[in-house]
Symmetry: D3
Subunit: 292 residues, 6 copies
């Protein structure tokens, strides 16, 4: 078998080589390190975006980065509640969670969102394994506020099952439920859970995917996009009320992680294709980077 | 600190010692071995029975037996379907599973039954971790029959995530969903899944908990309770039509396991308290034991 | 092959299950831990009691408890001395040990008592291995008192050979001889040796088998059986002269062990069948427990 | 610290992401695998090309590919010979190597070429370690032809020192000297040495860098550039005399490697920047690929 | 601190260097290998010879040779029997062993000979550990001949306790008692035991120390000292009746070992100082070497 | 096969045994320990002495001592310089090293001296592997003095490649070149390099071979040979100017090593056969021993 070619001008491919030359030091730096990625239920609403996200996750894993995904499922929970004749109610941005709502939340998170994320990632290998914070009492919680019902505040993270799966080359995908250790499950804010998990795992990075380009100094008018900010400046801005209510748990998640030793946190636009690859492997400034 | 006692007649406690003398050889024999236990969704309908089951599972784990639980959730699935306005339909005993039914099945199995079993066991420790056959493509399936829709037939069992958790001292609790590896999930008969998992894990025992005392030679009239039976006799009885339709998947599960090298299989009455402890640690003949 | 049974009332076996439910937490707690058991030569005088003791030792080992037996051989030594025409003499309860007596002691301990204990335990497996404190200079001693001759006081315990055997699943059975490291052997009190060995091994428990039900506050009249006592109360009682001369080495052994970090010590009646199983695996208060 | 950015159009960076998506599967496939790269002394004649080569080597190593470099030093040897007043002579393309010439060859290969390659690669880390085939008798040789003097034919490759360095994350850079095991060193053709080393290491790839674009079917007129060719076609072409004398050792090296189980061999143009990165991590057809 | 010396003529020490140059290849060859040494009770009758033997054993161990000593105790057993008023009786060279004789044998072997050998070796370190074939049922035996009483024939050697001690750097010293696994001990010929142990341990060498210079072709007249002999010639000589009755068990021991894969066996004169060092580390032909 | 021998008088070989009895404790003490040996290029000028040295190195390695050889090549460098028409020049005993001289130095050290030492040692096995301080940037240097040109002062020793080879049973032979980590090589005094390497490796011994019998208190007249000296006395003598210029780097090497934790240093006469064996394995006082 002989196949002929024509002499090639390889100089036109040098840009490819330069991307690799740019990317490889990051590869080397992040291989074996843990990156915790928070994603909302919205990711599943756009099938193509969801597949792109899943392929990114699988690629990160394939090059030796230890990826942990932490997800919520707000839109899907509200949708099933309405289908079952229950109107969602909120108190200061948190879902009021009676026992029925908890059951619906659990079914949506574990039976819908988690399973679908696992299935999507596993199209690119067999590496994703779904967990919830109830498994192995990973997220040990206590009741946050009587008025909210079964909403939990994280007291303790037991990382062993996550670390065991990471050591085996798997990608743990964690639903934000918690357990009180006495047989009762609780709804946990997924942003908060991601920050706690990143801290406990001594992650290298926490990435919070959201639907804005990053943090703005004037959030309402989306003006003053922040490219980099340190932790104390972020806390100052938060105290000044710069951020919307929906952004607060993400800010708190970032603060928890950085205070706990995570090297950098990132708030990125989850609607951009390949945003994870671009953030990790290029020098492009993307979204908002927060450092200690 | 001094506390006085009165001289005791320890002879009256010798029966305790004799139970231990009886039990310890089994302990020694089964420590480090894998026991796969199939349980139906019915187990959760009786809170006290469910707790007793969970405590038994935790005790087996605490003495070094590697326990894998495989569960279904028939009654709960039908119940949620009706709540959402869908009437369950069956073909030759198998649930016809359209896409909506699959979603409901997934939500019930993962979000209800699995999570509750995990929570109950974790009241006695933090060792249970829920999985489904979609995780890590543990149960790789293909469509069983076009008429049944999303019902899968097991083609391959990938044991690594289960073995990793067992090696870490955890109790994997597996929902009987499968994956086609291309992003689609399937409903899998839980009895069949248990047999396949037992075979793949080279389990020592498969225990199928059901709501009869064991196998009867005349099943309709519950006459002729079978205490022990070998594999070929079981296959003969099956061919003679001795068993009811509902018993057939359990029989097939046992056959799969024993043909695959599992040492013994047991069909036991799940309604009896401590039936697992009694079967494993005493010389009492309980339910039906099937051997190769 | 089909064997039929009759439907059983398993409720009548629930007491067996309850014994296991009571015992398993202890199993879990003591597995992998070291229990040092002191036994006198008297144990061999009753063949049935000796077999019961050996079976208990083998059972403890079979469930993963690391058992070390430390024994003496008083009656047998005196008996052989008389057979060889020498009258045993004692000074303050200690055997005066000339060179001939030392040879006799060595022959009885190693050639009779140790070998027979090893043989009895090995009827229930092949796990016992006999040692003396001369092996690997396990018990390094110096002369205790010129008037006593070859009676040694323990200066150093070298645990390695014992730990190596324990790690291999064996049951070391140790004769209470010691070595001065210069080629000379010495007689060592077996109670004292047991306490020193328990301390050096960081044992979980020291069990001293004797022929009373435990400690009595008034030892002479065997009144006031002590069920539990702490270390400082025990020392006070000892200073008050509450204990007989024969009991003093056992008390000292317990003190050595507890001061060295052993969790609990027990003085039990070696004449009771299964006293080891009952002490370790039941909630029955047995004999005297001493805690730090 | 706050640094602002302007909202970015990340779509323009998607081509970077696509390069990574293209490259990562290769990364995954070649990580931990061995790639043997043959390079001539010419590489050092162009400082910039040499640095580019060294950076490529360091990048491959940094992403987990196990790189072994095998080099010659023809131009430098002839140059030093002339400086010392000796005229190079050749027989059928092989350098006639008297004892003095061997000393000069050894000094040039080890003291000049090897050391400079090591130094250049170590500018990008500290990973390169120079070796010759005399070290650990890696290349055990016998005299090839009396007329050639100290020119060796490889009889045995002892890989241990190379594998030890690879396991430690180092990049072995091997000079093509050999040893007869009796204290005598020999000059070895570097192409041949590379093929033997690739075979012995069970390398995944052998890359022979040369100064043409690849193999031509008509080598003299550089017509008919071969893109892919299988081993038997290559052997046929060789027998038909298609290749120049200088190309023969490279062809033989490829044949040795592929017959010994190396997956693919490549003849590439060493003058092209980043040719190693482009070959390994892109789908561009580059140079000539030979497969078994 | 300064200490002056006078210029030395080191050439006069070159003979020391030559001994080392001669010895080191043997060191290298035997390090980590097992050498089983059979010694009779006679060794203890000469205190200086016994110390020399013990120092040799300790030296072999100190340079990494794994030494196992297997001993009997004939003279000492007969002596204690007479002291206790029993006359030793023999049948075809084997001691008739009633139960009392067995007890005496056990006491002498374990309590006298073994302990003293252990003590002597431990003067040069703490490495010797005494065992008997009853420990861990190392020597599993059955009754050899009803007429002989408690004399055992080796059925099975369980090496684990010996190998565990060797792996830990200890020197196992084994008394030739065996066990029937049912609680009964038996007297075993020490020569035979040594051969069986050497075979089971896949020893490199079996050394049988005796009180002649080696094997003679004409044993009675001690003529025709055999320097080397192969296994089949040895068997032929044995069949021709060349050897005395006392030599037969030694011959059989050698045959067992060599047939079981031991590389060489040696019959050496135990009365010669340092005979073990000379045999192993010099090229001197010593005693009789038997090879397969 | 039978070979006869004549009865031997083994007493005449007892002196061999006594050498071993003397040597084995040293074997035991130095096995697994690192000995760094500095040798000059002069060693190669006498072929027989070189072979004797190589055999000694191979023997030390064969008995488990981890040997590192560090060499220079003064005479050979000057010789090649002259051959290439350059006159060697020195400043305060250090060679002035322009770029050309560096190239010559590198070629001589790596291509001549190192390769020949490796070849000689490998005649006695395949264990020697040549390295220079440029490999893996083992010797990281900075320029010592502008006037000296490419002469480096050691800033950091990276031991990993050396330790990796030692762990694999190899003998690293190190040329005294260094690297500035930016691609430039430097000449390093071999005595100094040896001391730095010994310190970094936590060597047990540093042996500096030279061509005198040791240190003299009056070096010029070679009077007052010092047998033993402690570090502070050595420093005092040095400050008093007792030593010749050529001896100073050796003295400094010894000081560096001892201050860094090396147990003893030795200055020995490299012209004496087997001087390494005699120093390490006998009680003869040889050369000068320096201790902390």
């Amino acid at each position: 078998m002989i196949r002929h070619g024509i002499p090639q001008d390889l100089t036109k491919y040098q840009n490819k080589a330069h991307v690799l030359v740019e990317a490889f030091p990051y590869l080397n730096r992040f291989r074996g390190r843990i990156v915790v990625i928070k994603v909302g239920g919205e990711i599943l609403l756009d099938q193509q975006g969801a597949e792109n996200f899943a392929r990114n996750i699988a690629l990160l894993n394939s090059v030796g980065i230890k990826v942990v995904v932490c997800h919520g499922g707000g839109p899907q929970i509200s949708s099933l509640m309405r289908e079952l004749g229950k109107e969602p109610t909120f108190l200061e941005g948190q879902r009021i969670t009676c026992r029925d709502t908890l059951e619906i939340t659990s079914m949506v998170l574990l039976g819908q969102v988690n399973r679908k994320l696992v299935s999507l990632v596993n199209k690119f290998g067999s590496q994703a394994v779904g967990l919830s914070g109830v498994d192995g009492n990973i997220l040990q919680v206590r009741k946050l506020d009587e008025r909210l019902g079964y909403v939990g505040s994280v007291e303790l993270v037991r990382c062993e099952p996550i670390q065991m799966l990471l050591a085996g080359g798997y990608i743990p995908i964690l639903s934000s439920l918690g357990s009180d250790g006495k047989g009762e499950s609780y709804n946990v804010n997924a942003d908060i859970a991601a920050g706690e998990v990143a801290r406990s795992l001594h992650a290298e990075k926490l990435v919070v995917l959201t639907n804005t380009e990053g943090l703005y100094e004037n959030f309402d008018q989306k003006q003053g996009l922040i490219s980099e900010i340190d932790l104390s400046s972020l806390q100052t801005l938060k105290e000044q009320g710069a951020f919307s209510a929906g952004m607060i748990p993400k800010i708190d998640s970032v603060i928890t992680a950085l205070q706990g030793g995570v090297s950098t946190a990132h708030i990125l636009d989850g609607r951009t294709d390949n945003v994870l690859l671009l953030e990790i492997f290029t020098q492009q400034g993307i979204g908002t980077m927060i450092f200690p």
